[in-house]
Amino acid sequence: MHNRLKALREEAGLSQAECADALGVSRQTVISIEKGHFDPRLSLAFRISRLFDVAVDEAFTPDD
């Protein structure tokens, strides 16, 4: 699954640590999502979409 977390975070002017704190996860988790190594669960995907005020499918898109 592709995601725009890095772009959204940078547009919002957040560091990875600040983003992690706002989402309630570790910085390592944010790094892994941005690298595409970790597809978050639905609950975290919704927290990300709320944090950046975008729809879930604007932040995450399937590979195909």
Binding site: A20, V25, Q28, T29
Partner: protein
């Protein structure tokens, strides 16, 4: 709450020492195949490292333990433990087969415990380096 590494290992060492002492005392009072002090020392020494490691691992939740299921660390642990479990089962099956062919009377189960722990640790390190 995030615990520092020093705090975590201090708690783990204290808990390990306490549990190891209790296990050693129980063994020394119930077993009569060796002098009490020897029984105490052997069981306490065998218990100590495992309890220390278990407590240290249990306290290692990095940030935000309430969201543990959303973390990559949780996924790494799950993947490493399931891989190690599969490896251990295969190793035990192969060894059991070899034991039946070679007519071994006993199997050293502790070896599989050590293999499983080492396997899981190696898998965790590899995952952290590859995906971290």
């Amino acid at each position: 709450m995030t615990t520092t590494r020093t705090t975590r290992w201090t708690i783990a060492a204290a808990a390990g020492t306490a549990v190891a002492a209790v296990v050693g005392l129980v063994a020394a009072t119930t077993r009569d195949d060796a002098p009490d002090i020897v029984t105490f020392a052997v069981f306490a020494a065998a218990t100590l490292p495992f309890v220390v490691a278990l407590v240290a691992i249990g306290l290692d939740r990095t940030e935000h333990p309430e969201q543990a299921e959303d973390s990559i660390e949780s996924q790494w642990t799950t993947r490493a433990s399931s891989g190690a479990f599969y490896d251990t089962i295969v190793a035990m099956a192969v060894t059991a087969f070899a034991a039946s062919v070679l007519d071994w009377e006993t199997l050293p189960l502790w070896i599989f415990v050590l293999l499983g722990l080492a396997d899981m640790s190696a898998r965790l390190v590899i995952l952290q380096r590859r995906e971290g």
